[in-house]
């Protein structure tokens, strides 16, 4: 942890913007409130952004849970580098409160006013290390024009010597910037310092026009992400319990387990308690639900969240009043602000990490952008990452959410084979798979209200299916893990030529029995991949997202599974006159 000298700066009311208060009342949380102690240590005082949330101390705990591991530690990036990212992004997004906060913090860390002004004007001319410039280039792109952000941007940063750990921290810091900016707008944070004249931005962000989208880039984690299992890693177990599966945005951050712990902790503080908004209301904000079929007050709540997420310059106290007129009290509105800010955080992470959208970005594509900043000729032409597939189940899902239960039966009919095969693939037992179908579809029905996103319904359903099956494996304590690392070496031994037309050797029923037996004898981790990819023909990215795997990992399993099945079938199909030769070590 890196602290700042105490009492060097302070957020006195005399420095506030004309003595105005934020939109929410402040209450005394005591002198030993741990998050405030941490903020004092690392900012030198408690910024008004956090004091404005004291009506709900638990949400400040959520803020602190995220900020501490992301910002207050020197790891791949230093605190100063991360403050630099936060400062540049806040300035680029015209957020006066946050740019002032980070400006003052950087001064305390030793930066001169001149150097900071140069960062805003054009960071390329600033006296910064090449790696810091590379990180700024990356995060400015992610934080100001995420729709054109692509793996090409990461590759370029990588080519300048930034390791995956650096890139992950940079992306997390950009996400944190979005969270802090949304919070400051939503709570109406008043400046902790006297206003300063900002230099004209001529502007570093014009660099965004240097980038071109890599059309057709596939989804998949952009950074190395070692596998973690919900069975061994508590935050993943928590997320699986809450969402029915581990959303891929979390699977993509396994390089930093402490961050995942912090994110799970923040979700726990914000999502679970129902002393202000209900869990359903918060899930709708977090998952970007549609306003259709909602009561008037809940529609107003989502409109409020949408406006805040878009950093609409017209967002003001009148938006708070609109919610009050719809029956929401101060605590509920504060929680709406915090939940929206959390959604913003995950939105940036999802884009930056290339996580498949099973945890959809709220109101994707609607975010209002200042075209002058990003120099985009047409945002529609530049969408690269969010290649939104048409979901053939979308209408049916909407009908179910509208109360038409018959449409749920239709969804079951459409997907029963896929669900069954996935369950067979993991459980290795057709009878148990039939039994588990009931759990799977009931869970899907139960969580359907939180689904409305950009992920395909089929992908989402396969994720639920997978997790239902894994849960069963755990309950029966059959430790056939889907996550363990590869066996030492797999050496194909049956390398004798096969007969030209294997299917003429057996009847169709015999053939089916042979192959089904071969598939069932595969270890579960290969069996399920083969079933999803080769039998169900699920796109690679969707199967990877459903199983919480990265693309390289799922491809490795597919190869191993295919070779093992080939090995198992070989004795039935080899030409009897041929003799084997050597094996091949993979």
């Amino acid at each position: 942890m890196v602290g700042l000298p105490l009492n060097l700066v302070r957020g006195s009311s005399s420095n506030r913007d004309g003595g105005h208060m934020s939109y929410f009342g402040e209450v005394d949380v005591g002198s030993t409130f741990q998050p405030f102690t941490a903020f004092c240590e690392h900012f030198g005082f408690v910024p008004s952004l956090f004091r404005a949330q004291t009506l709900l101390p638990r949400v400040i705990r959520a803020d602190a849970a995220l900020i501490s591991p992301i910002l207050f530690t020197n790891q791949a990036l230093s605190r100063a580098q991360k403050e630099c990212i936060l400062f540049a992004l806040a300035a680029a997004n015209d957020n006066a409160y946050c740019s002032n906060l980070h400006y003052q913090t950087l001064k305390l860390l030793g930066a001169t006013e001149e150097s900071l002004d140069r960062i805003v004007a054009d960071y390329r001319q600033a006296d910064l290390a090449p790696t810091t410039k590379a990180v700024l280039k990356l995060t400015l792109k992610l934080g100001t024009s995420e729709h054109s952000f692509s793996t090409q941007d990461l590759r370029e940063a990588s080519s300048q010597g930034l390791a995956d750990e650096c890139l992950l921290e940079a992306i997390l810091t950009a996400a944190l910037s979005r969270l802090l900016c949304a919070l400051s707008i939503g709570v109406g944070a008043v400046s902790d310092f006297a206003p300063r004249a900002a230099p004209p931005a001529t502007h570093a962000l014009s660099l965004c026009s240097d980038f071109f989208p890599a059309a057709g880039e596939k989804l998949g984690f952009n950074l190395h992400a070692p596998e973690l299992s919900p069975d061994d890693f508590a935050p993943f177990a928590f997320l699986r319990d809450q969402f029915g599966f581990v959303p891929s945005v979390f699977c993509a951050q396994t390089l930093r387990p402490t961050i995942l712990e912090a994110e799970a902790c923040a979700i726990q503080f914000v999502l679970l308690p129902e002393d202000a908004l209900t869990r359903a209301q918060k899930e709708r904000i977090l998952l970007g639900a549609s306003q259709a079929k909602l009561a008037k007050s809940d529609r107003a709540l989502l409109s409020f969240a949408e406006k805040l997420e878009a950093a609409d310059p017209e967002f003001s106290k009148s938006d708070i009043q609109t919610l009050q007129e719809n029956g929401f009290n101060e605590k509920q509105i504060l929680e709406a602000v915090v939940t929206t800010s959390l959604a913003c955080f995950f939105n940036v992470l999802q884009v930056g990490l290339g996580a498949a959208p099973d945890f959809p970005a709220p109101w994707a594509g609607k975010r209002k952008r200042d075209a002058k900043k990003a120099h985009l000729s047409s945002s529609d032409q530049r969408h690269t990452y969010v290649a939104q597939p048409i979901d053939p189940d979308a209408e049916c899902v909407a009908r179910v959410l509208g109360g038409d239960l018959g449409s749920f039966e239709e969804l079951m009919n459409r997907h029963s084979q896929r669900v069954y095969r996935t369950l067979v693939g993991i459980l290795g037992n057709p009878d148990e798979a039939r039994d588990a179908m009931q759990d799977t579809f009931l869970k899907a029905f139960q969580h359907l209200a939180g689904f409305e996103g950009r992920a395909r319904f089929s992908t989402w359903l396969v994720s639920i299916t997978t997790n239902t099956a894994i849960q069963r494996l755990r309950e029966r304590r059959q430790m056939e893990s889907l996550d363990e690392t590869f066996d030492e070496q797999f050496r194909p031994r049956e390398v004798q030529a096969w007969t030209d037309d294997p299917e003429r050797l057996y009847s169709r029923a015999e053939m089916r029995s042979l192959i089904e037996n071969g598939v069932m004898r595969l270890p579960a981790k290969y069996r399920v991949v083969l079933i999803l990819l080769d039998l169900e023909q699920l796109p690679l990215e969707e199967a990877a997202a459903a199983l919480g795997l990265g693309i390289p990992a799922i491809k490795a399993r597919r190869l191993r599974g295919r070779l093992m099945l080939r090995e198992a079938l070989a004795p039935h199909f080899i030409q009897p006159e041929r003799k084997g030769t050597k094996g091949v070590t993979i």
Binding site: L405, M412, R421, L535
Partner: protein, 80 residues
Amino acid sequence: MINCADFVAELDNYLDGDVAAAVRVQLEHHIAHCKTCTVLVDSTRKTLKILTENGLFDLPREAFEPIAEEIMARVRTKEK
């Protein structure tokens, strides 16, 4: 020059036609001279064909109907 292990590492991509032209040339040069890898390619391709064309793990309609009825009964109970 690539060896058998290199070839096997690229086998999936090769079968799926997902390799760059330069890599494909090297892979094909290898199998032209390696009987073992020729067998691997041929037998893996046949494995995939019989895996995908035999209607594996089908759940018969009559087996699914009672399951669906039970699920819908519970769904309707939850909605009440």
